[in-house]
């Protein structure tokens, strides 16, 4: 009898644990997602059929799996935050979340994760929202393969694509983001990874780091954003194999580094940016095996930077290879390939016997007096540049690559 009782209890428990699937749609008994959430128990799956759902703000406060069939449209009618997730381990897949409200006080988002962990947001389309995916106090959340499109015209009137605040161990993978203020925004986010995203045509930055330590971003493409990518006030950030392309304009950078330390930058491609990398107050960064091609300035290293190592990079077809604003040089530049280097290699060890000065006189002149750009490529300027190369007077003497490569690295 005791044994039977045990089995009965087990079956009862199993019934209890058995997750139900609730179908939502016009052809089903339930046609509102809110009603379905109300009926459901933690662990249930809500399967939403294609259609338009204007339900205001939908709050997911239980551990649920929300699946959309053929991208059902959750519409915020430009008034509400569309989806708010407050339960751990919630999964949202296959929805089209659109037209969230616009407000600067409570920052409504297409999908907001509010103090929830292990949430998965995968394969959704977020269209014309104020913020796309907003993570606040989230841990171990995964945001994967979403498409975020917005139509912001001014910085003040649009939110960020993926906005993360005070979070930890996030994974942001394979998203396509355009038209937001910042494509991806990190503030006080730690131990997170950003991988294989494409952030293009955003109004301000493609990726924006503030006070976020121990993060990495790999193999992303940042293209044609208002001001490129900014990494500020952070430590131990790893940036590898990313593409920084076509960030044009005054005060636009491929990568802006401000007050960064102990970071690693490798294998990135900087193509056609006004300024490939702009460094300010950065220290102890290792920069190797990056390619700088066809930028206005490949790198602008302000005098406030120290103990950085710039080695084994390719500098090809840039208007200026380097720029700086002072006489102090506390960084090491070594063994890079410069297409402007005119050295020779008698001992055939692959390195030029003549050191190379990447800082042309004209770049110093332009730094002091931007309107001197008027004389760019004039006969006088090339004459002055030549004489400066032989007898440096205006450019800092120590700004030098003592062993420039003869051939570009295969990057």
């Amino acid at each position: 009898m005791k044994k039977n009782g045990c089995i009965f209890l087990c079956v009862l428990l199993a019934c209890q644990l058995q997750a139900a699937t609730i179908r939502v749609g016009k052809q089903h008994a339930i046609n509102s997602i809110k009603a379905a959430i109300k009926q459901s128990r933690a662990g249930d799956t809500i399967l939403v059929a294609a259609g338009l759902y204007k339900e205001g703000n939908i709050v997911v406060n239980k551990r649920l799996v929300l699946l959309g069939e053929n991208f059902p449209e959750l519409d915020g009618q430009h008034k509400y935050e569309v989806l708010t997730i407050t339960a751990d381990s919630t999964i949202v897949k296959g929805f089209r979340v659109q037209h969230s409200g616009h407000a600067s006080l409570d920052d409504p988002g297409g999908i907001k994760i509010l103090e929830a962990n292990y949430v998965v947001i995968e394969g959704n389309v977020l269209y014309d929202n104020f913020f796309g995916v907003y993570v606040q106090y989230g841990k171990h959340c995964l945001i994967k393969n979403n498409t975020l499109v917005a139509f912001g015209k001014e910085e003040q009137q649009i939110g960020n694509g993926v906005h993360c605040w005070k979070s930890d161990s996030l994974q942001i993978i394979g998203n396509n983001i355009s038209g937001h203020r910042d494509g991806i925004y990190f503030e006080f986010v730690t131990a997170s990874v950003i991988w294989r995203n494409v952030s293009a045509g955003n109004i301000r930055y493609g990726l924006h780091f503030m006070f976020s330590n121990n993060d990495s971003y790999f193999t992303n493409t940042f293209k044609n954003n208002g001001a490129g990518v900014a990494v500020m006030y952070s430590k131990q950030v790893t940036m590898m194999n990313n593409n920084f392309e076509q960030n044009w304009g005054d005060a636009a950078y491929g990568l802006l580094l401000k007050e960064i330390s102990d970071s690693y930058i490798s294998g990135n491609q900087f193509r056609q940016n006004t300024s490939g990398i702009w460094m300010e107050g950065t220290s102890r960064i290792k920069m190797e095996r990056n390619a700088f091609v066809q930028n206005g300035w490949a790198m602008q290293v302000q005098a406030s930077c120290m103990d950085n190592l710039i080695t084994d990079n390719n500098f090809i077809a840039n208007t200026f290879d380097m720029g700086t604003n002072g006489d102090v040089v506390l960084n090491t530049v070594a063994s890079n390939y410069w297409d402007k280097c005119e050295g020779y290699d008698l001992d055939r060890n692959g390195f030029s016997d003549v050191p190379f000065r990447p800082l042309s006189m004209f770049s110093v002149v332009v730094e002091k007096n931007p309107s001197a750009m008027l004389l760019f490529r004039s006969f006088l300027v090339s004459l002055l540049d030549r004489s400066e190369k032989i007898f440096p007077s205006l450019t800092p003497e120590q700004f030098i690559d003592k062993s420039p490569r003869m051939k570009p690295l295969p990057l």
């Binding site: 005054d250 004389l375 490529r377 006969f379």
Partner: protein, 255 residues
């Protein structure tokens, strides 16, 4: 008038200097495009050559040619031909021969290898520069009867536009660095045909470096459709005004 132009043209062809100039330019431009890996880089190198060589050759050759044809001019004056017609046809003959030389030597490789848009601008500025410096030669030659002095003046003119003017601009920039000088600088650049031509071409090629704040102002002035039209108008004025002044002097001059 057509007759005189034809005569001047055949005379210049027989002279062979212009042919040598055309051959030199052709060799330079073909090698430039064969050496540089990208078209726009080739255009840049060619731009530097064009800005240096075309003005020098056209101003020097024309000055010497005018002095050498003093007797021919006097002979023509004894005929029933109006003075402006003589001067105009001399100018026409010289500038046409230089433009043809430039067009054949540089134009052909330019349109073959370079991006069409960049090629058109460089081609047009090259032709205009030829005419401008022929006109400046007329001005230099009419100023004095002394050949040495005239040639000296024309060399100085070239040196001024190719080198000294830029030095002056650089000097002014640093003197007035504390003031908002972007707009005056744009105006100042219009006072040298070579600077105008260079900026016009760079706007098509090297957008990257020109971008900054000053670049944005230049782009506003020179980059837009009207800016290009305006700059070409200015270049045309640079050819017409010096010639017009020389014509006025020639009309009244006791030869």
């Amino acid at each position: 008038m057509k007759k005189i132009i034809r005569f001047v043209l055949t005379d210049i062809l027989r002279n062979r200097i212009v042919i040598a100039y055309a051959v030199l330019m052709a060799v330079l431009s073909w090698t430039v495009f064969n050496m540089e890996d990208t078209g726009s880089k080739g255009v840049l190198t060619l731009l530097n050559i064009v800005l240096l060589v075309v003005p020098l050759v056209s101003v020097l050759f024309s000055t010497i040619y005018i002095y050498n044809s003093a007797e021919f001019i006097e002979l023509l004056l004894s005929q029933p031909v109006k003075r402006p017609q003589i001067w105009l046809s001399l100018f026409g003959g010289l500038s046409i021969s230089f433009i043809i030389a430039f067009a054949v030597a540089v134009g052909l490789p330019l349109f073959l290898f370079a991006d069409f848009h960049q090629a058109v601008i460089l081609f047009a500025t090259g032709c205009l520069l030829s005419a401008i410096f022929v006109a400046l030669a007329f001005l230099a030659a009419i100023m004095s009867r002394d050949k040495a002095k005239g040639v000296g003046v024309s060399i100085l003119l070239w040196l001024y536009f190719a080198l000294l003017f830029d030095g002056l601009v650089l000097f002014l920039m640093f003197q007035f660095a504390d003031y908002p000088i972007e707009k005056p600088m744009v105006l100042l650049s219009a006072t040298s045909p070579l600077d105008l031509a260079r900026i016009l071409n760079l706007m098509q090629i090297d957008a990257s470096a020109m971008m900054g704040y000053t670049g944005a102002i230049f782009k506003n002035y020179f980059g837009s459709g009207w800016g290009v039209v305006l700059s070409f108008g200015l270049l045309l004025a640079w050819a017409l005004v010096p010639f017009w002044i020389s014509l006025r002097i020639f009309k009244r001059k006791d030869l």
